[in-house]
């Protein structure tokens, strides 16, 4: 196995408050991994520890097989890209000038700026000053900066929180393309539908602990039931379980053209989160 991130028994305390407790997970090369949890659950702290912005209290944290602390080294920083809600931009400079600075810091060709701006659908606005942009546009500029050097590992902290549906879809397509090109993505979000669309595996983080981890479809199988609900034309609805008796009932309704709608009772990731933690994702 080729683990890009390997976290074992991670603990982080701020003064006497525990932010993360016995957190363990590993992410393989090429995976899109969703770290899901409500605000204050420890998602951003985890990213900060992984990117050597915060010291861990205990546990082992490896990135590319090396201690995360080594990510402070200049050359290692080229291996990852990061977008967080506190990734600042130079407001008096234009979009292009902001990216030019970072393309020089990463020693990239000028063409990297155009590629990154095309990725976030902002090439036409490249001359606009950051101070003139909406929050969503700023988020796209930050994302462009994070992916400009084609990192092996991309940390995204709520990447589409300020975006409209059209741009969200555009970003999703771009992230899938990046992932197909080999970029491993560590995504934190409290948007369960985003996680379902993008992630190969997810972990539920609640009050600093991982409560469940796995592929969305496996978690749904584990925590959901395989019944379906049938709505009839007379307004009645009935839950149908697997089995001969219910199958005959369903066959009868269908034959007599009584069925109005059929849908599965598969839980959403949000339902599972509530089921596991007893609290909502806000």
């Amino acid at each position: 196995m080729n683990a890009v991130i390997d976290v074992q028994h991670l603990k982080k305390t701020f003064n006497k408050e525990t932010a993360l407790q016995d957190v363990s997970f590993s992410i393989q090369k090429g995976e899109i991994f969703g770290f899901l949890g409500p605000s204050g659950s420890g998602k951003t702290t985890t990213i900060k520890i992984l990117t050597a912005q915060t010291e861990k209290t205990a546990g082992d944290v490896l990135l590319f097989g090396r201690p995360a602390n080594e990510m402070k080294q200049s050359n290692n920083r080229k291996r990852f890209g990061i977008l967080t809600d506190n990734s600042g931009l130079y407001t008096r400079l234009s979009i292009e000038e902001n990216l030019l600075l970072f393309s020089n810091l990463y020693q990239l060709p000028k063409s990297a700026i155009k590629e990154a701006l095309d990725f976030v659908n902002l090439y036409g606005d490249r001359k606009k000053k950051i101070s003139q942009l909406s929050k969503g546009m700023m988020q796209r500029v930050t994302l462009a900066r994070a992916i400009m050097h084609k990192p092996e590992l991309l940390f995204l902290d709520e990447p589409t929180s300020a975006l409209d549906p059209v741009n969200t879809q555009h970003i999703y397509n771009g992230l899938r393309k990046l992932n197909e090109m080999g970029t491993t993505i560590f995504l934190t979000t409290h948007d369960m539908s985003e996680a379902e669309i993008l992630c190969d595996r997810v972990a539920f983080l609640h009050k600093g602990k991982i409560r469940a981890i796995g592929a969305p479809k496996d978690l749904k199988k584990e925590f959901g039931d395989d019944s379906i609900t049938v709505e009839l034309k007379n307004g009645a609805s009935e839950v149908i379980q697997n089995g001969k008796q219910d199958a005959e009932k369903l066959f009868h309704w269908m034959q007599s053209n009584e069925v109005s709608r059929i849908y599965t009772n598969e839980p959403t990731l949000g339902n599972i989160f509530i089921q596991i933690t007893g609290s909502d994702l806000v």
């Binding site: 920083r77 600042g88 008096r92 990463y106 020693q107």
Partner: protein, 235 residues
């Protein structure tokens, strides 16, 4: 330390663009020039007055601008973005300092010209001025690292301006006065003592002591600034 000229130049150009569009900070470069003009017109042409206007340039331009550049980066979270890029500690500090160094050299040269100061030994004075610039940049860096916003940075630099620009005025107090004794060792006072020595018949120690003390101030301040910067890299 991993240092890259491309990265230093990128940070220098970025700071130039940001500074030239930030009128609240960039207007400060004219203050020492106004003072130099007023001193020139007042007719009080003493070495202490010439150096006072130069020391004001160091405090108001070098320290203040460096402090504001760093404080603003912290306020807007851009310093963290730089720290997460491949730019090393050296790239960031040299890139930011180089811009302020260039501005300081221009402002100090103009201040000397406008004040009408004609130093007896320009070469030795130039060495002292360059070393002083290095010290005041370190001081500005330190002030910036301790500030969370530009507003805080402006407040923090006020006592610096007061102590380092006006400190040499305490040299006029009787030499037994403890304030005078302490003030004598400020780099700004050492610059005054050096400039005064250069106008008369001086011995080697009159040059070595001020230059050495400015170097020591610079070294200590840069070491502290580097240490604080590294601590600021992690939360």
């Amino acid at each position: 330390m991993n240092i890259s000229m491309t990265r230093i130049q990128a940070i220098l150009m970025k700071d130039y663009k940001e500074f030239s569009r930030n009128y609240a900070v960039s207007v400060m470069v004219f203050m020492p020039l106004v003072f130099a003009f007023l001193y020139n017109k007042s007719g009080s042409a003493t070495i202490a007055i010439y150096i006072l206007s130069i020391n004001m340039a160091f405090s108001m331009v070098t320290t203040y601008v460096q402090c504001c550049l760093i404080a603003e980066e912290k306020e807007k979270n851009t310093l963290r973005s730089l720290m997460l890029s491949p730019a090393s500690l050296g790239d960031i500090l040299i890139g930011k300092s180089l811009f302020v160094f260039i501005i300081t050299m221009v402002v100090v040269a103009l201040t000397i010209f406008i004040a009408g100061y004609n130093p007896a030994n320009l070469f030795i004075l130039a060495i002292a001025l360059i070393l002083s610039t290095v010290f005041y940049i370190a001081l500005g860096t330190l002030c910036g690292l301790f500030s969370k916003t530009i507003m805080e940075g402006s407040l923090i630099t006020l006592p610096v301006v007061l102590i380092f620009s006006c400190g040499p005025l305490a040299l006029a107090l009787p030499s037994a006065n403890p304030i005078s004794k302490i003030a004598e060792w400020l780099p700004s006072s050492q610059l005054v003592l050096l400039a005064e020595a250069l106008e008369g018949s001086y011995i080697t120690m009159d040059i070595i002591i001020p230059i050495t003390s400015i170097i020591v101030w610079s070294l200590v301040t840069w070491i502290v600034a580097g240490f604080i910067y590294k601590k600021r890299m992690v939360d």
